[in-house]
Amino acid sequence: MATIKIPPVLRGSVGGEKELQASGGNVGEVLRELASQHPATESQLFSEDGELNRYVNVYLNDEDVRVLDGLDTSVLDGDTVVILPAMAGGAR
C-alpha cells in the first residue's frame, strides 16, 4: 500500500481526507485506484485520453514522476505519492 497525499483543492472530492491509502504496482495504478474509490477525482487527475493532466504534478516520495518513469514509475510498499496542483493563493 502507498500513502497518497491529497492537496487542499482535491479534498472536497475525497470526503475531506488529507491522506489516503491505495494499492498498485506503479504510480498510474495507485492513482487509478484513488479515482475508482473517489470518482470525483478522476477528471481532475486524468485527461480524457487517460493521461495525467498537465497541471497536476505527481511526486513519488520527493521526486517528480516526470523525471522518473511517469505513470509507469514503480511504487513500493510504504512509498508516498504526493499530488500537487499549482496553487496561487496569495493574500490580498
Binding site: 498537465r54 496553487m87 496561487a88 493563493g89 496569495g90
Partner: protein
C-alpha cells in the same frame, strides 16, 4: 624610571624605521610586504593605506598571527604618527619572533602630507552599528553582509498577507530599498493577517500604509511605491533594477507574467502561496535553478484554482510563509546558506508537517531553456490555455 617619551626614543633605536616614500615604493614593487595598521577601529575606518590589514595595537599579540602567519615575512607597521607602530614593531621583533619588521616614520599623517593615496572604506554609522549589532555578531551576515543588505533593492509584489511580514522584517534587517506594488486600500477584513496595516489606516492605500509601518521600524529604508496593478504593460519597467522579487501574487496569469519577466531580467523570485492551513515556498532563480514554468507548465482550470480571498486562510499562515520568504531574500542578498532554489516546501499548519519536494529544470521549458534576449514581449505571461482560463475565471 624613564619617561614615556624616552622609552619611545629608545625603542625607536632598536627597530627599523622606514620613510613613507620607501613604503610606497615597496607597495608598487609588489614584493609581498604586509602593511599593518595598528590604530583603533574608528581611525582605520576613516582612512588607511591601500591594501593595509588592520590589527589594533591593543590586540596585536592575539591577532597578528591571523594577519601574518609567516614570521620571516617583511612586515611594515604604521599608526597616526609613528609612535604606536614603533612600540608594536618592537613587540613583534623582540617578543613574537618576527624577523623583518619596520615602522613607518610619521605614520599616516606624513603619508597624507606627501599626497599619497589612502583608501576610505565603507562602513556603518555608529547608529547603524548599534541597530544591526546582532547581525554583525553573526559571521554569515557580519559587516559585509549588512552592507550588502543596505545596498539591496527588494521588490514586494503585494503588501498583503505575505508582503506585510516580509516588508516589516526586511525593513528591520536593513534592506536599503523596498519597492511595493499594490493598488489596493486597507480593509477591515485585511487586518486579521496583514500586519503592516492598522485600524486607523482603513481606507488608506496599502503602499502608503506599509510605508508608514516600515519607517516606524527603520526610517533609513527607501520605499518605492507602485500603487498600480501589475500587468504586461508595466512589469518590466517596475522590476528592472531590483535584486530580488518577493512574490505574493494571488492569480495565475500574473504569476506566469512575473516568471517570464524575471527570467528575462534574471532576477530571482522568492515565491510563496497559501490556502487554508497550507503553504508552499520556493525560489525561482533564473538559469541557476528551475523557473515557475518548469514546476507548473500549465495552470489548473479556474474551478481548481481558488484564491484565498474567497477560500479563507488562517491569519498566521501568511505570516509564517512571508517570513520564510524573507529568510530566503536575506540569503540571496548575502550569499549565506542554501536557498530553496530547486526545492519546494509544503507546510501543513494543522498537522505541523513540512514536506520537501525536488523541482528540476525542464530542459524543454518554453521560457528558461532559452536566452533572455530571445523571449519576446508577445510571449510574456502567455500559457497554452490562456483564453479558456481567463474565460473560466471571468
Amino acid at each position: 624610571m624613564a619617561s614615556g617619551a624616552e622609552l619611545i626614543r629608545k625603542i625607536k633605536e632598536q627597530i627599523e624605521e622606514v620613510d613613507p616614500k620607501d613604503v610606497l615604493a615597496t607597495q608598487q614593487n609588489g614584493n609581498g610586504a604586509v602593511v599593518v595598521d595598528v590604530r583603533e577601529q574608528h581611525e582605520f575606518e576613516e582612512a588607511h593605506l591601500p591594501g593595509a590589514v588592520h590589527v589594533p595595537r591593543g590586540h596585536l599579540e592575539s591577532r597578528i598571527e591571523g594577519a601574518v602567519s609567516d614570521r620571516s615575512k617583511r612586515v611594515i607597521l604604521y599608526c597616526a604618527s609613528g609612535q604606536r607602530s614603533a612600540l608594536a614593531a618592537h613587540t613583534l621583533q623582540e617578543q613574537l619572533g618576527y624577523e623583518d619588521v619596520a615602522s613607518m616614520r610619521g605614520g599616516i599623517t606624513l603619508w597624507k602630507d606627501r599626497g599619497y593615496d589612502v583608501e576610505v572604506p565603507r562602513s556603518l554609522t555608529p547608529e547603524q552599528r548599534e541597530r544591526y549589532s546582532r547581525h554583525l555578531l553573526v559571521p554569515e551576515v557580519g559587516l559585509e553582509g549588512q552592507l550588502k543588505l543596505l545596498d539591496a533593492k527588494v521588490l514586494l509584489l503585494g503588501a498583503g498577507g505575505l508582503g506585510s511580514p516580509a516588508a516589516l522584517y526586511l525593513a528591520a534587517a536593513g534592506v536599503g530599498t523596498l519597492g511595493i506594488v499594490d493598488n489596493d486600500v486597507v480593509d477591515l477584513s485585511n487586518l486579521q493577517r496583514q500586519v503592516a496595516h492598522s485600524n486607523d489606516r482603513i481606507g488608506v492605500p496599502k503602499v502608503d500604509s506599509a510605508e508608514i509601518s516600515i519607517h516606524e521600524i527603520n526610517p533609513d529604508v527607501n520605499v518605492e511605491k507602485y500603487p498600480v496593478r501589475l500587468g504586461a504593460d508595466n512589469i518590466m519597467e517596475i522590476a528592472e533594477g531590483y535584486d530580488v522579487i518577493v512574490d505574493g501574487l494571488d492569480n495565475f496569469p500574473t504569476r506566469y507574467l512575473l516568471n517570464d519577466a524575471s527570467v528575462r531580467l534574471q532576477i530571482p523570485v522568492v515565491s510563496a502561496s497559501i490556502l487554508g492551513f497550507e503553504g508552499q515556498l520556493s525560489v525561482f532563480h533564473p538559469y541557476e535553478g528551475p523557473c515557475y514554468r518548469c514546476l507548473y507548465p500549465t495552470p489548473p482550470p479556474a474551478e481548481l484554482a481558488p484564491s484565498c480571498g474567497a477560500a479563507g486562510v488562517l491569519g498566521v499562515l501568511p505570516g509564517v510563509m512571508g517570513l520564510l520568504q524573507s529568510v530566503e531574500v536575506i540569503k540571496l542578498v548575502t550569499g549565506a546558506g542554501d536557498t530553496m532554489a530547486g526545492r519546494l516546501l509544503l507546510y501543513d499548519a494543522l498537522g505541523t508537517t513540512f514536506t520537501e519536494l525536488k523541482v528540476r529544470r525542464d530542459p524543454d521549458c518554453p521560457i528558461c531553456s532559452r536566452d533572455p534576449g530571445e523571449i519576446s514581449d508577445e510571449e510574456m505571461g502567455v500559457f497554452p490555455d490562456y483564453e479558456a482560463f481567463c474565460a473560466g475565471a471571468g
